[in-house]
Point group: C2
Chain length 527, copies 2
Amino acid sequence: MQLTGAQLIGFGTSRQGTTTFTGMDAGTGQALSPDFHEATAAEVDQAVQLAAAAFPAYSHTTPEKRAAFLERIGDEIMALGDELLEGCTRETALPAARLTGERGRTVGQLKLFAAVLREGSWVEARIDTALPDRQPPRPDLRRMLIPLGPVGVFGASNFPLAFSVAGGDTASALAAGCPVVFKGHPAHPATSERVAAAIIRAARATGMPEGVFSLVQGGSVAVGMALVEHPLVKAIGFTGSFRGGKALFDAANRREEPIPVYAEMGSTNPVFVLPGILREKGAALAEGLAASVTLGVGQFCTNPGLFVALQGEETTDFIHKTGQALAGSAPGAMLTGNMLKAYRSGVDRLAAVPGTRVAARAQAPDGRAGAALLQAEARAFLEHPELAEEVFGPSTVAVVAGSREELMAVADGLKGHLTATVHGTAEDLREYQPLLQRLAQKVGRLVINGFPTGVEVSYAMQHGGPYPATTDSRTTSVGTAAISRFARPLCYQGFPDELLPDALKNANPLNVWRMVNGEWTKGKVGS
Amino acid sequence: MQLTGAQLIGFGTSRQGTTTFTGMDAGTGQALSPDFHEATAAEVDQAVQLAAAAFPAYSHTTPEKRAAFLERIGDEIMALGDELLEGCTRETALPAARLTGERGRTVGQLKLFAAVLREGSWVEARIDTALPDRQPPRPDLRRMLIPLGPVGVFGASNFPLAFSVAGGDTASALAAGCPVVFKGHPAHPATSERVAAAIIRAARATGMPEGVFSLVQGGSVAVGMALVEHPLVKAIGFTGSFRGGKALFDAANRREEPIPVYAEMGSTNPVFVLPGILREKGAALAEGLAASVTLGVGQFCTNPGLFVALQGEETTDFIHKTGQALAGSAPGAMLTGNMLKAYRSGVDRLAAVPGTRVAARAQAPDGRAGAALLQAEARAFLEHPELAEEVFGPSTVAVVAGSREELMAVADGLKGHLTATVHGTAEDLREYQPLLQRLAQKVGRLVINGFPTGVEVSYAMQHGGPYPATTDSRTTSVGTAAISRFARPLCYQGFPDELLPDALKNANPLNVWRMVNGEWTKGKVGS
């Protein structure tokens, strides 16, 4: 398709701004064509106004129609073919195989939300039938989730498909019944435009109202702020850096009407390796850990940037082997030149912490990131919590605890993370149950004998975690539960059956699970 | 029981502060004994530290033990007998019959949460079983809600039992597994101490850890701020004024680690009266509306402070009859002298809005609040949104719309409210479906042919609503769903069965509803 470099607003394009920017070839650092226009405040307003105008109709579409829309988005993305993947590789340096997988994840995610809509129970219907003879009488009360309104979504650079224009935030907001205004990430504007155009084609083809989706582009903070501060925007989805997410969170709370911000801001995802398993299979674990650290040039939110073990011969050997594997790993191009710079200075910053040293480092040519292993005593770690701050890229910090108590203190000293991992034999795990309990307080997902990278899109996934990993630990940005972020409960009191939404009608025409007088059932209400 | 005037911290008392305050006899304005000590920052810290120390043990108590604790709290409250009710009447001027009912509601609420714990499905267990042969393999993923940590709760003045020390916020937080530090409302310190002592007796009797509940008292903002700003507090529950709730919300978001604030800040709960029903039963509706406005001297969050009708003879008559009923209603003592002052100046403020007049007003002696009816044209209302701001007390504003379009504009101009109500015949309601759809966007509960006062404690209740009615429209502060405010999901990946919480074990020993591979079931997992 012909790229326009414009905002895709409603079913049209808009190119009002005079500021332009380009995508960059992430492998060579060269500017790509075309020029993209940065959205003006008026364009952001237009997109949000259209979203708000679309909301009444879109929020009342049937679940089946929304499901068909989501599936059609997937079809339109597939129809973009190799042009999408090749353009995306140019913009991100992510290899074709990875992007093919990520496209599959993106389309699969849309299909999964379509299935959630068809099944229908996500609205959490609850019905308390009237008790007219009680004193005082109880009215008929029926409660379900309804969509919040127009949602602003910010894409991440590191998943240009699965956490970008048609990613999990967009898919779950559209599934919930909320129109989306998407702020494209400036690191992959062409990919953003291609996918946005696919969404808009799907909206037209399935009869969705104009404004159900718009794309605004821009490299400056102003575009995003105009979106967050727009009074008609009712929630924000974001995946990216702590600085970016926190700025949106603060702006959203300063509004006359504060709105929820679901910002997934990454973390270091600590891995605890217990003594028994180190003895049993330390070498294999070192390989596995190094592979997880360097996967995708370390550019995952769940990258294990920290591991902790008790001092001893096996630990020394484990760290040595991990270092060897990292030093021998292939250097890779990062998503942007700025990220590479930030990675290098991040490793230097960690290395400069007293009591910390670089234990291994892969050679890397200009323009490529080499993996790095840093090592610190637990005492240094406890005194310098900045060692637990995320460095985006293929590095990790080994923390050696002098005692079990010190290892527990490291766990207690952690802030919020997306995940924590414990490797242990059955005996290790029984012995270290208090460690599991402490880590449970710090994370959204607790992994035993696995690696944190690899976030399944499924029913039971929780991709979130206590602050500062996210701004809302009560929610997930991956998996089917993500849909409820964009909805809120409404109680219908004393409604005649015909005026109730289908999910709450006596006959249960959508055949959904409902809590009726405290009992879950798919049955009808009344005779 | 002998009142101490002290903080009840853990299982002990503390009286470090030198600032004291007293309760006031709400009927006479006289100071009551004893003096209550305002909590110092050190005392707040001590209470929170004890709560944090109690958290690991308390959060791992079995649901059955927590249920027994909640029920015992109810028993201990009942055992306080008439002393509780009489003291509370002195402090609040609420009559014995009302407080007897409110005590029943409070104890019933504790029992209902005990039932929720015994049933157990509130943890929203989800299980995705492993797919080891898939490429890539899917790990075993199990997700459930876990408690957030110590919670700070602020009581309301208008429900000294049901929304205070042992009210819905405390009951739901304790049910979720979170220790509570309660900031007593300075308008009823003796009632607060009595109920807090009952909770602590229940904690001792049922073997709960010290610190699971503490009471701190105080009349100044500093005590509350110390609680919200304490780094170990993980969430806040609040019922009260917009000013108070917003201040806590802002403070919580300014923290190094922002925390959720569930502030229910009241609203005016607009009532729309449609033409057909006015013709059919305008007189009865006027009686009903006036009764709802004056119920409990208008001191309910769901008090209907605003009603809207289309101009015409029936409406003129309806407003006249409502005014007659209000003018003839008995004046009452308000909860505090300051509230009475605020009520009177609030009515004056409304009356001073251009295009608004006082249509009826009950005579009231010194120290009593008389009901008031104000009347405004819709145009005045649309130009002066302050007419929709809550005046706490027995007043209401009649808004007369010149046309159906103007009536819709009034609905569109509303901010967030706890409830909205529509009175209409079957034909009215069919004709005004767009009104229902617009109001649905503005409220947490939409009532047909009822009155908003009377908030059932049940499964399907939603007591919340868009900002500024609350700071979190996604949650309710009344009903069983309130429990999930104090919990967040944790995903357990690759856990051996024996290390999983009971709700996630293969055998489903708690017999709870779980979503297994996307299907809700009470069955076991695996063979």
